[in-house]
C-alpha cells in the first residue's frame, strides 16, 4: 500500500500528472465570481462560503477521471487486481493519493481565496476545518464514480453526472458550518453531520468501488 501511495504521488507531481491543475482551476473559479456578481463586499461576503465550497468541489472533480483510467489503459489495473494488494486497499490508497494531491492543497488555499471574497473573520478557521473534514469524502466518492466509469471511452462527463449529485450532502453541511460560524450560530450539528458523512463514505465506498472495478475488468 505504501508503495502504491508513493508511486501515485510521484506520478501526480511528475510532468503531465496534473498536480496543481485543480488548484489553478479553484483559483480561477473563485476569482471569476466577483466579476460575475459585482464587487460589493457585503454581497460577496454573504455568498463566500458557498462559492468556496462549490469551487473546491468542482476542482476536486477535475482530476477524478484519471484516477483509475490511466492504470486501466496501461494494464496496471489488471496487474494490481492479480497482485496481493486487496482491491479495496488499492481504491482507498488511490483515493488518499488523490486527496493529498487535490483536497489538501485546496483546503490550504481556501482561506487565502477567502480574502478575495471578503470572507468575514470567524469564517476562516471553520472554512479550513470544514474543508479538511469534507474533502476526503469528495475524493472517496469520486473514486467510487471513477471505478464505475473505468474503461468507458470519454467516461469523464458521465463521471461528473454520477458524482456531483453524491457531493450534495457534503456541500450542504460543509457550507453550512462556515455560514453558521460567520453568523455566530451553533454549528456543531452540521459539523458532526459532515464528519459523519466522511466517515461513512470512507468506511463503505472502498468496498463498492472495488466491486465496481472487478466487474469492469471482466
Amino acid at each position: 500500500m505504501g508503495a502504491l501511495l508513493t508511486r501515485d504521488l510521484a506520478l501526480a507531481v511528475k510532468a503531465g500528472g496534473g498536480f496543481g491543475l485543480s488548484l489553478a482551476f479553484f483559483l480561477i473559479v473563485v476569482t471569476l465570481v466577483p466579476f460575475g456578481v459585482g464587487p460589493e463586499t457585503g454581497r460577496l461576503a454573504e455568498i463566500a462560503p458557498g462559492i468556496l465550497w462549490v469551487g473546491a468541489l468542482l476542482a476536486c472533480l477535475l482530476s477524478l477521471d484519471r484516477l483509475f483510467q490511466l492504470d486501466w489503459e496501461d494494464g496496471s489495473l489488471d496487474l494490481l487486481a492479480v497482485s496481493p494488494l486487496p482491491m479495496e486497499g488499492v481504491v482507498a490508497t488511490k483515493a488518499l493519493a488523490h486527496w493529498i494531491t487535490t483536497g489538501l492543497p485546496l483546503t490550504l488555499a481556501a482561506p487565502v481565496l477567502g480574502l478575495l471574497l471578503n470572507l468575514p473573520g470567524p469564517g476562516y478557521l471553520w472554512l479550513l476545518v470544514s474543508l479538511a473534514l469534507g474533502t476526503p469524502a469528495l475524493s472517496m466518492i469520486g473514486a467510487f464514480g471513477a471505478a464505475l466509469t473505468v474503461g468507458l471511452k470519454r467516461g469523464g462527463l458521465l463521471l461528473s453526472l454520477l458524482v456531483l449529485p453524491l457531493y450534495v450532502p457534503t456541500l450542504i453541511f460543509g457550507a453550512e458550518v462556515v455560514r453558521r460560524a460567520i453568523d455566530g450560530q451553533a454549528f456543531a450539528t452540521p459539523l458532526a453531520m459532515l464528519a459523519g458523512l466522511t466517515l461513512a463514505t470512507l468506511a463503505l465506498l472502498p468496498f463498492a468501488a472495488a466491486a465496481a472495478i472487478r466487474i469492469n475488468l471482466r
Binding site: 508503495a3 502504491l4 508511486r7 511528475k14 496501461d74 494494464g75 489488471d78 492479480v82 496481493p84
Partner: protein, 210 residues
C-alpha cells in the same frame, strides 16, 4: 504445486467462448495454448488469473500463487525502469529487483524513463516483472510480441529457470520457444452458445458484443 482445471467454461462480454476445458499442469511443467485468433486464449488466461469468473467448472490452484502478464505491460511511462520494477517488487513483498534486471539484460536501462524505451524494451521490462512477483504460477498472454530473437531466447531461459525451480508456466503463444511443454489447442473447446463444446462453428468475437 499443481494447477488443475476441470470442465471450465468461459465467457467474454456475456457470450460463451469456451466450454469443457480440462487440463492439469504439475510443478516444473509448462502449458502452451494454441488456437486461431478469437478462440478464447486470452479469455481462458484471464479466467485462470481470477480477473473474470468462470461460467462453469472449477480451477484448482493454491491461493495467491498466480502472476499474470497480459497484452499490456502495466508500465508507468513517467517512472524509470528501476522505479517500475521496485513498485511491483514492493507490491508482492519482494525487495530484490537484481534477478529481474539480469534476466532481461536491463541493467543499462535502469534509470531511463519507461516512456523512452522501445516497444521491445518495454516488453522485456513487463516480462522481467514476473521474476519479482516470487509467485509459482506464471501466466503469459502472447509474451513474445515485439521481442527480437535474442530476447525471445532470454525469455525462454527465464521460463526454463522458473520451471527448474519448481514453478509452472501457462502461455498463449504461436512461437516455439524450445521449452518442453504440453500443447493445448483450444479449437475443439469452442462454445457456440448451444450449451456444449462444438468444433469449428460460431465465433463470439463476430457477434457484435464489442
Amino acid at each position: 504445486m499443481r494447477l488443475s482445471v476441470h470442465d471450465l467454461a468461459c465467457r467474454r462480454g456475456g457470450l460463451p467462448v469456451l466450454a469443457g476445458v480440462s487440463f492439469t499442469v504439475e510443478a516444473g511443467e509448462a502449458l502452451v495454448l494454441r488456437g486461431p485468433n478469437g478462440v478464447g486464449k486470452t479469455t481462458l488466461l484471464r479466467t485462470l488469473a481470477g480477473l473474470q469468473p468462470a461460467a462453469a467448472g472449477r480451477v484448482e490452484v493454491p491461493e495467491d500463487s498466480i502472476a499474470y502478464a497480459g497484452h499490456a505491460d502495466g508500465l508507468k511511462a513517467a517512472l524509470s525502469v528501476r522505479a517500475n520494477l521496485a513498485f511491483w517488487a514492493a507490491a508482492y513483498g519482494t525487495r530484490d529487483i537484481a534477478p529481474a534486471l539480469a534476466a532481461f539484460d536491463l541493467e543499462r536501462l535502469l534509470d531511463r524513463p519507461a516512456a523512452d524505451l522501445s516497444a521491445g524494451q518495454k516488453r522485456r521490462l513487463g516480462l522481467a516483472r514476473m521474476t519479482v512477483t516470487g509467485r509459482p504460477v506464471w501466466i503469459f498472454d502472447e509474451p513474445t510480441v515485439s521481442l527480437d530473437t535474442a530476447n525471445t531466447r532470454l525469455f525462454a531461459e527465464m521460463v526454463a529457470r522458473h520451471l527448474a525451480g519448481g514453478g509452472l508456466a501457462l502461455m498463449a503463444t504461436h512461437i516455439d520457444l524450445g521449452i518442453a511443454a504440453q500443447v493445448l489447442d483450444l479449437t475443439p473447446f469452442r462454445d457456440t452458445g448451444t450449451g456444449g463444446p462444438e468444433a469449428g462453428a460460431g465465433d463470439a468475437f463476430l457477434d457484435g458484443s464489442f
